[in-house]
Subunit: 401 residues, 2 copies
């Protein structure tokens, strides 16, 4: 598998994209993104588990019942969540206008929104935006689209890679947005993956769910699970590779590539968390089950007290074991080893007299790794998060205004 | 029931207390508290559900197996958690020294600690402190003891009240400490309640558990459940009232008084949360079950995004329904009404065009009430928390150093 320099969602064959400013957001910032596949593509998706599912997710779920999609339309600035019947109508309208502009079926349009909850979408502006985006769609539009889905993100998140499958080159492209209300459950913030791979529909859903669980679902910025999270993958088959199937020989390779793409995006989201100054990676090893390892890693990564300690570059490992202790993971307090970077700071649940200076050096880095060995089994998991800074409070104290 | 002005844990008959500075904490701040009952008292307790139970909790659980206690010893500054065998030995030693100083049984001593995790207790200093405290124990020592259990608390937390039971006056006193790592589960931070009531042992445990679930377990500062949480009640019977029993006529009155004492302490802890500028009270009504109401209220109260919005005095109610949506409570998104103060901002899950100026006025207050009506049933619950400010980050970025 090789990464494609400056690649994105338009790197795979047959995909075009655009990102335009329709006027929802301030200062002419791009706020409508469009992704288009020249052929109807197999599509799979995972969604937020929040009971308040935003209107666009409800419409997208309906449209993806047949497992086929040809375009994705996204607006940023307003989430179109908690708007009752009006929300559903505007989400449907977004799909309809997109379908008309691209001359495709309405039910082949994936709709997504991100931004403030409880505010009506200005349909006039959005209609204008979608029409403009459909006119300027092009093979290099990935970056514009990635920019148009950003809200408080500081860094656009796009990536692409290629791999050989049965003598053909298969390309995968992706974009995502963070960067607050990030604590996904079965799905995450917005992420869109495109590929020209030829793949069975069932296989696509299987891989996406598995990858999302191990990557997007293992990041946390603030412990809040959004109403608008979704990850969608479109596979249009234009690479003409031998079809990837559940029992075929290419499943593993393709799955590994999707995992790597999702991992990279997930880390980008965590690293660009609101107000973040550091990426935190938490590895829990020696767990009895994968579920235990995930629970433990995610609780440590989500703890406000761990996050503020990392911001303060303080080797306060007691907060790490505390989070582990309430995570719900099976833990024997007298068996747990804790590492900050590669420095062992607690062994068998007991504090060591460790080198504070070395710990300080590790904590000064932009990426801080924490490791906990439960010494109970062989399962392991990794979670990613960010520190909690003054700027997180600042950004979120006046987000709406 | 009447509150006693400036009352505390020494208000009930037969209780003495002291708080002294032994040198664990800086600048001669009090750090050892002692509470003593002139008779062995019935005792009940609830503890943290964190799997890493600090050593003093383990020793206290052992000592309270017979339901009897006569003294409570507490140190602040160091939690005596995650210190392995050494931790257990020092906790036992604290009980032993206390017993010797007061000439009571070692197993009648309740031991508690609060402060930094993973650091050994300086037993020489603590021994000196306990001996000094036992010398200065007195009937007005409640305030000194309440001060000695504080860590990052800004305000000491003590309270007392009296009520008539069967022609006799029964007095209840209490003290507690907050103010970070507050997200209790079946118990909370340190709280100690004394009473001269004559009450059945079984009854005492029943009331304490029920009261803790509705009060201490409904507060959250930062979503982190501590290793050291405990609430202990001692009842020495000196009021000479007709015994309060499970099927007797006085249970309800006494229970109501304990509930009020616990509610007041819980609110004091939430209000004094690290960096807090406002107390947040969240009421969830119209729930199908008490559990649903509690889950919903606590999730809203714990959400970083709700907390930062309140800090910023921003009527961002979308975050309230988001938290409700991932709380695990049974919710019909199209039935939910949301109030900020008494201002209805969303009805049937849909945003209203509400008076922003009025919302701003409500949010400027020191106490902000949020209410959610699920419109599904008749169960309700209240949770208390605080806003999330720059100072929370500041306090926790360098807590250890």
């Amino acid at each position: 598998m090789k990464y494609i320099k400056d690649g994105g969602i338009t790197s795979p064959q047959g995909f075009k994209a655009a990102g335009v400013a329709c006027g929802i957001r301030k200062k002419g910032r791009k706020d409508v993104a469009l992704v288009y596949s020249q052929l109807p593509a197999h599509a799979a998706a995972v969604y937020t588990q929040n009971k308040f599912k935003a209107a666009p997710l409800q419409i997208t779920e309906e449209h993806l019942q047949n497992g086929i999609a040809q375009a994705v339309v996204v607006n940023s600035g307003i989430a179109n969540a908690c708007m009752g019947q009006h929300g559903l109508e505007t989400a449907k309208e977004m799909a309809l206008i997109t379908a008309e502009s691209l001359q495709i079926k309405t039910e082949d349009v994936v709709v997504a929104s991100t931004g403030v909850i409880g505010v009506p979408l200005p349909m006039e502006l959005i209609t204008k935006g979608i029409k403009e985006a459909s006119r300027v769609l092009n093979c290099d539009g990935g970056t514009d689209a990635a920019e148009a889905i950003m809200t408080t993100d500081l860094i656009k998140k796009e990536i692409a890679c290629k791999l050989g499958i049965g003598g053909k080159t298969v390309t995968i492209g992706a974009m995502a947005k963070g960067s607050g209300m990030i604590h996904p459950n079965m799905a995450t913030m917005l992420a869109f993956i495109t590929t020209d791979a030829s793949i069975e529909s069932k296989c696509l859903q299987y891989i996406l769910k598995k990858a999302a669980d191990a990557t997007f679902n293992m990041i946390s910025v603030d412990g809040d699970t959004s109403t608008n999270d979704m990850v969608v993958i479109l596979a249009n088959g234009l690479a003409n590779n031998p079809k990837i199937t559940m029992d075929g020989q290419y499943l593993e390779e393709f799955e590994a590539a999707i995992f790597e793409v999702c991992t990279t995006l997930a880390k980008m989201i965590a690293q660009d968390g609101e107000g973040a100054t550091k990426l935190i990676e938490v590895e829990v090893v020696g767990a009895k089950s994968l579920e235990d390892a995930r629970k433990g890693a995610k609780a440590i990564c989500s703890s406000s007290l761990v996050k503020t300690a990392i911001f303060g570059e303080d080797a306060n490992w007691g907060r790490i074991v505390t989070a582990l202790g309430y995570s719900g993971a099976e833990v024997d307090p007298l068996m747990v080893d804790v590492y900050i970077g590669d420095l062992l700071v607690a062994q068998k649940g007991t504090g060591l007299n460790f080198d504070e200076e070395k710990a300080g050096e590790i904590l000064k880095q932009k990426e801080v790794k924490l490791k906990v060995d439960l010494n109970l089994g062989s399962a392991e998991a990794t979670a990613w998060g960010c520190d909690l800074s003054y700027d997180y409070v600042k950004i979120n104290a006046d987000y709406r205004s």
